[in-house]
């Protein structure tokens, strides 16, 4: 009986870890449904980029208000989680504030955690207000349907609740310490919760012990739940941002990949003596029709997307009322990957649900509105590349389906016939030199 809380705690912890591993494993599998892409070059530069962009959040601060508040939440949340180490030990072995032997350092840590906790709490309140009261435009685009909006609000609310529980726990603990209650040895500094403590000073010792225990369990169960909420949420970016930035495109943004199989075919057309590919090689789909035709990195982009909408708020097409929204492109990639993944779980690997990423999720109208300006890729705080997806889908429409807009088909014909997008004879190319102003 005496060990019941410890056993319960251990079971909870185990379930949390197992569930998380299972969920993360599914996401990993879904990402690997994508095509191969080698991003193993230049490890040093990749690490540096990861430190700058993911850890240092260099692209977040380009919007100072949101950027700084985000850093507060991020730093606060990560550092306060050092506290979780103590909670885990206390929970498993029925100790109380097991790290308090650190003495002055412990007081410093708990004190800093409290200051961070109140900052995180304040930042989350401001974030909620920005989203729901100020209704900042990028959080209310078409693709921000009720689930993405709720998701963001749930995360912010959980964080506020966790931080509140942490502070109230400390407040009751500090009173119990001052009453020299057994088990509640004197430890820690409480710069913030000492301001809450007076509100609780009339409480009975039993009441306070109950409150302290309640907050303690609430806090840790909250964290366990949060960990398993992550993979279902855009909040998974707190983990994926790191590999996603590490493997991001390091080339000039202007460079699009050249399709190798096309090079082989074109070379063969131009020089029939070149060695043809082996006859049994299955011709690949040109471009992407569905998830499995995208690179694994594009799928990872989808899972990393924070739905912040910075990309869409700088997209020239989106700003002028076109259907295209690079954020939606990323969200569609993720949602379709989830759907395909769920199909695999339910119906096996080769199940075909008759749907595709192009058309069922992303329409041709969206795809053709893109100017390939790279504003989205430049703005994305986690180095996502919506343009790579747009180009792959265009390639599919054009090369597999011949479904380009009519004007573009004319452009293709002109380039083919006379080497220019317009219908001018090649022989006139130098006329500019003869004409006078």
């Amino acid at each position: 009986m005496h060990y019941l809380p410890n056993v319960l705690f251990a079971l909870l912890l185990l379930t949390t870890v197992l569930l998380f591993v299972k969920q993360a494993g599914k996401i990993r599998r879904n990402i690997l449904l994508g095509r191969e892409l080698d991003r193993s070059d230049q490890p040093k530069l990749r690490l540096k980029t990861m430190f700058m962009v993911a850890l240092g959040q260099s692209k977040m601060v380009k919007r100072p208000v949101a950027g700084l508040l985000h850093i507060v939440v991020y730093v606060g949340f990560v550092i306060i989680n050092i506290e979780v180490i103590e909670i885990l030990i206390d929970g498993l072995f029925s100790t109380h504030r097991v790290l308090s032997f650190l003495g002055g350092l412990y007081d410093f840590l708990i004190g800093s955690f409290e200051i961070l906790a109140i900052s995180v709490l304040a930042a989350c309140v401001i974030f909620l207000l920005r989203r729901n009261v100020l209704k900042i435009k990028r959080f209310w685009n078409r693709e921000m349907t009720s689930w993405p909006r709720t998701d963001a609000n749930i995360i912010l609310t959980i964080e506020i609740l966790l931080m509140s529980a942490f502070l109230i726990m400390n407040a009751s603990d500090s009173i119990l310490q001052s009453r020299l209650v057994e088990h509640y040895s004197v430890a820690g500094a409480f710069p913030i919760s000492s301001m809450i403590a007076p509100l609780l000073s009339d409480w009975s010792t039993d009441g306070l012990i109950f409150l302290e225990r309640f907050c303690w369990w609430f806090h840790i169960i909250g964290i366990f739940a949060f960990i398993n909420y992550l993979p279902m949420s855009k909040h998974f970016h707190i983990i994926l941002a790191f590999p996603n930035v590490y493997y991001s495109n390091l080339e000039h943004l202007g460079r699009l990949s050249n399709i190798k199989e096309v090079s082989n075919e074109v070379k063969l057309m131009m020089d029939p003596s070149a060695t043809p590919p082996p006859a049994d090689a299955t011709p690949p789909t040109f471009g992407a029709k569905d998830i499995a035709d995208l690179s694994w990195k594009s799928i990872m982009d989808g899972y990393t997307c924070t739905e912040c909408g910075r990309c869409s708020s700088v997209c020239p097409a989106n700003q002028t009322g076109k259907l295209l929204s690079p954020r939606k492109i990323m969200m569609d990639v993720r949602d379709r990957a989830e759907e395909v993944g769920n199909n695999i779980d339910k119906h096996g690997k080769d199940h075909n649900d008759g749907k595709t990423l192009v058309h069922d999720y992303i329409t041709a109208e969206e795809l053709w509105a893109c100017t390939t300006c790279n504003a989205c890729t430049d703005a994305c705080p986690v180095n996502n590349d919506p343009l790579a997806v747009i180009v792959e889908l265009r390639r599919y429409l054009v090369m597999e389906k011949s479904e380009a807009p009519k004007e573009l088909n004319n452009v293709f014909t002109n380039i083919e016939n006379n080497g220019a997008p317009w219908q001018f004879p090649m022989a006139d190319r130098l006329n500019w030199a003869k004409e006078q102003e």
Partner: protein
């Protein structure tokens, strides 16, 4: 102004000469009436600076950029391999172009297909020629004139060239005003990704109008551009806003040529 002499690669090679740099004119610069003026301005500047240059003339063909960005990788690579054959046959080492789309494609996408050249945008070459004193700006034609600059996506964000064009404007001794969205945050003119050649999708505004409004807000007298497509888009935007009397759109090559009395 005397007749321009523009040697072609074929002529030079026939005479046993090798040019220092190939001037890649591009489709717009060859066929679009407005862009041809930019091409001529650049050719005059190259001549004045005594740069030994040549063009491909009728041997030049579209780089394939619009095809590639529209998803037609086959057509792009057909164009690329054909152009590379021509360029490599002439043993071209250095290329300068007035079109950021050609610039980007030649510089970033041709090497993997066997075309390795040192590629420069004309604003970069003009900057060098002015710094080396091979060109000079006299007379203060633009002194005190308010000029704003529209970043071309394929020069700026795509390739990080933000300073060369701005430096040219500074050299004109004019008053430079930045638009509210500039450099990496600059708004596209709406022409990229083959949009130039088609009607825009349904929306509530055309992109070039949105961008022209940024330019008008600066109260500049001149919008400087560094891309023939941006030039067209901004010129149309100014027309649409009935501001032709107040604002003119010029390529940086034209501005430098005017300032050098060409």
């Amino acid at each position: 102004m005397s007749q321009l002499t523009v040697p072609t690669m074929a002529e030079m090679t026939a005479n046993g000469e090798t040019p220092e740099v190939l001037f890649w004119v591009g489709c717009s610069g060859s066929f679009d009436d407005r862009a041809k003026k930019i091409t001529r301005a650049m050719a005059k500047l190259l001549t004045k600076a005594q740069v030994k240059f040549a063009v491909l003339g009728t041997e030049e063909s579209c780089t394939g950029d619009p095809a590639k960005r529209a998803g037609n990788e086959f057509l792009f690579q057909m164009q690329a391999f054909t152009n590379i054959q021509v360029l490599n046959a002439y043993n071209v080492k250095k290329v300068v172009t007035t079109c950021p789309h050609c610039f980007n494609t030649l510089k970033n996408e041709y090497p993997e297909l066997g075309g390795n050249y040192e590629v420069m945008h004309h604003t970069q070459l003009l900057q060098i020629l002015l710094d080396e004193g091979k060109l000079s700006i006299e007379g203060g034609k633009f002194k005190g004139k308010k000029i704003t600059y529209h970043d071309a996506c394929y020069l700026g964000r795509a390739n990080g060239v933000y300073e060369a064009p701005r430096d040219l404007i500074a050299k004109l001794d004019s008053e430079f005003v930045e638009m509210k969205r500039s450099k990496a945050k600059g708004l596209c003119c709406g022409a990229g990704g083959a949009q130039m050649f088609k009607e825009p999708e349904k929306g509530n505004k055309d992109i070039n109008i949105e961008r022209t409004e940024d330019a008008i807000e600066t109260n500049a007298e001149i919008i400087a551009t560094a891309c023939p497509f941006c030039n067209t888009m901004m010129t149309d935007g100014v027309k649409n806003k009935n501001k032709e009397g107040q604002i003119r759109v010029f390529d940086l090559a034209e501005l430098v040529a005017q300032a050098s009395d060409l």
